[in-house]
């Protein structure tokens, strides 16, 4: 398919009407030319007819005679070599001239006036002028006719028509050139814009600063503004990626420093010494931290990637079942830290719209946080609820909680609350939960545990009540 061209469509839009106008003008002009030529030449014919008619007389025998003056037909001579015929007749009988010139019906001619018509004579079209003239002494009018072939008229008409056509063609050409150059001038800002955009792409870097709109014509402003908005969003997104990369690498440096430091210490002390063994413990801890950071970064990247591709098809699933599975999986981790794990769920299924894997990952991250930040020997409670407030899962711990002022910030990537002697973390757990929840259209709220210290995180999913599959899940 050919690329639509602004220049082509503008040219067509301007030239097509101009062409139609030229054709209409040409047709009108041709008609006018024909009439003018016909009228002037008819006048000449009339002159000849009059000259002849004025010389009509009646002789002694009471016959019609004509003393034909040479000028009478001479005025009709032209370069066109037209053949000229005349005829004078009375009462249907020729008096003088060409007998084969078609004769008009005298009775129908207005006396004194001249009539014109086309006729055929000797194989050629001729123009005939006729007058019925009364002369003294004769009861009926005498018919005087003069005819000429049409060569002169045709030549004159063609010459005038040719001039008209040349004039119009010249005009059309001029319009075309002017429109073409006008469009070129009009489109110049677009060329400038694309040149500016090209200049932005220098090897190794792309400038995402908005385009200067000062010299952009009003008609092109809307797309340029939209483009600038896109640039701005792109710059924001690239900034976020840069920030994220910097944060991620920054986050890896500390455990790497721990690794190198304690490796050297272990080498110096030897692994037999208690200091050496302590260093080995810290090496293991740092390796675990790096592992966890990597896993979290991958989880976050996956959640982002999914968000970019749009929400995948959600299915009706049982929140209680997925939660029970995840909680069971994390019980050993809690027990290892001397914590108690509790699980509450309503009878029957809790049908929500979601994806089991993602919902499971949300709960696992919340549980991981709860265990990590819980007080030693505390309880971690997971509650699945289905009531007026919606279908949700709540995770409670007995840790220090999150003060209200910090609650918006803890979802930011790599944000770590200022906490003395807090456990090591990457500040990614809640960011992952937020990204996944956004993908599932779920809402997260952070609250104090009612009346006692500790944090309660609630994630409310989209319920799936009206759905047939949801009813089936409840009935099971």
């Amino acid at each position: 398919m050919r690329q639509p061209s602004l220049r082509r469509s503008l040219m067509a839009g301007a030239l097509l009407p101009a062409f139609v106008l030229a054709v209409v003008l040409g047709a009108g002009g041709a008609l006018l030319i024909h009439n003018v030529v016909e009228t002037t030449h008819d006048r000449l014919l009339d002159g000849s007819v009059l000259a002849i008619a004025d010389r009509l007389a009646v002789d002694e025998d009471n016959d019609v005679t004509v003393d034909l003056p040479p000028v009478a037909l001479g005025m009709l001579e032209s370069q066109a070599q037209d053949s000229i015929y005349y005829s004078v007749s009375y009462d249907g009988a020729p008096v003088t001239g060409y007998r084969d010139l078609p004769r008009a019906d005298v009775s129908r001619l207005e006396p004194g006036g001249t009539e014109h018509w086309n006729a055929t004579m000797r194989g050629a079209t001729v123009r005939v002028a006729a007058q019925a003239r009364r002369i003294y002494g004769k009861p009926d009018p005498v018919l005087v006719e003069v005819a000429e072939t049409r060569n002169a008229r045709r030549m004159l008409e063609w010459r005038l028509l040719g001039a008209l056509a040349a004039l119009e063609a010249g005009l059309l050409g001029l319009v075309g050139v002017l429109v073409w150059r006008g469009i070129g001038r009009g489109l110049a800002p677009l060329t400038r814009l694309s040149a500016e955009i090209h200049r932005r792409v220098v090897p190794g870097a792309v400038s995402l600063h908005p385009l200067d709109t000062a010299r952009v014509p009003a008609e092109a402003l809307a797309p340029v503004l939209a483009f600038n908005a896109l640039l701005e969003r792109l710059e924001g997104a690239m900034g976020a990626v840069r920030h994220f990369t910097a944060d991620a690498s920054h986050q890896m440096r500390t455990p790497l420093a721990v690794l190198r430091m304690h490796l050297e210490l272990a080498r110096r002390y030897g692994t037999a010494a208690p200091e050496g063994r302590a260093a080995l413990d810290d090496i293991e801890g740092a390796a675990r931290r790096l592992e966890r950071l990597l896993a979290q970064l991958i989880a976050l990247a996956r959640a982002d990637e999914g968000a970019a591709e749009g929400v995948a098809a959600d299915t009706t699933m049982d929140l209680a079942e997925v939660a029970a599975e995840v909680v069971a999986g994390q019980v050993p981790q809690a027990l290892a830290r001397g914590m108690e794990m509790q699980f509450e769920r309503p009878d029957g299924a809790v049908p929500i719209l979601g994806q089991p894997l993602l919902v499971g990952e949300i709960i696992a991250n919340l549980l991981d946080n709860a265990i990590r930040y819980n007080r030693a020997g505390g309880i971690v409670l997971v509650r699945v609820a289905r009531d007026g407030a919606g279908c949700r899962v709540e995770v409670e711990d007995e840790g220090p909680g999150i003060p209200p002022a910090e609650r918006a910030k803890v979802f930011e990537r790599f944000y770590r609350m200022a906490r003395k002697d807090g456990p090591e973390g990457n500040g990614l757990g809640l960011a992952i939960v937020r990204a996944l929840a956004d993908r599932l259209g779920a809402a997260i709220t952070l609250n104090d545990r009612s009346g006692r210290p500790g944090l309660r995180v609630a994630v409310t999913f989209r319920a799936s009540f009206p759905d047939e599959a949801g009813r089936e899940l409840i009935l099971q």
Partner: protein, 221 residues
């Protein structure tokens, strides 16, 4: 020589403390920024090792408040941020050195030694006092070119006295430089170390004199 380590990451802090102790230094560890800023101005540290990424009061703010209080203690910044702007900001705020994580332990130790030397007004690693010489890079002392066997504390006391040889070093300051917060110190511990040093320095070495009511003075000949 007392060093303050300001680091919120407990594993890294354990490593730093262990490494500095291996170098014969007395080490205090503080994870909280505002406490660290107060300690660094109140206690006679020979060096502050400061992590920038602290929760609460940031490392930059700690550094600013140390310098605002007029403390001239050398400060080494440890950071995970490699942006040039951060480095420039740290040095402009009065940091003396800048180390990017992860780092080599030997390099860290060398920089610590260099900073401590510079803080004591003598960039040369070897301090001399008569026939006594002390190499701060290796932590070894010689008397008339014979190696002198010194315990860690004895070395610390001697180093503090030699750095201000010929001047009275107040007893409290000497104790504060030699002992950290978390060490159980007997009331007469300092006297004990002084007595042991005196024994090891005779004959031929400079004399450590007790100035009653003031402190100690290492004589220069």
């Amino acid at each position: 020589m007392r060093v303050l380590v300001v680091e919120d990451d407990s594993a890294l802090a354990r490593g730093l403390v262990a490494a500095l102790k291996l170098s014969g230094l007395t080490v205090d560890h503080e994870a909280d920024g505002s406490n660290a800023a107060r300690l660094a101005t109140e206690e006679p540290y020979s060096l502050v090792v400061l992590d920038l990424g602290l929760p609460g009061l940031s490392g930059f703010e700690v550094l600013r408040s140390i310098r605002a209080a007029g403390a001239e203690v050398p400060v080494m910044i440890l950071t995970a941020r490699d942006a040039v702007a951060d480095r420039v900001k740290g040095l402009d705020l009065g940091a003396d050195d800048y180390l990017l994580k992860p780092f080599d332990l030997a390099e860290f130790e060398a920089r610590v030694r260099a900073l401590i030397r510079r803080g004591q007004g003598s960039p040369s690693p070897v301090l001399r006092c008569g026939a006594l010489a002390l190499d701060r890079a290796t932590g070894t002392a010689t008397l008339a070119d014979e190696p002198l066997a010194l315990r860690r504390r004895e070395l610390a006391v001697l180093m503090a006295l030699m750095a201000r040889a010929g001047k009275v070093v107040p007893k409290e300051r000497l104790a504060a430089e030699v002992f950290g917060f978390d060490e159980a110190v007997a009331p007469n511990a300092l006297e004990l170390y002084i007595a042991r040093l005196r024994k090891k320095l005779t004959p031929g070495g400079p004399e450590i004199r007790t100035i009653r009511g003031l402190g100690y003075l290492l004589e220069t000949e």
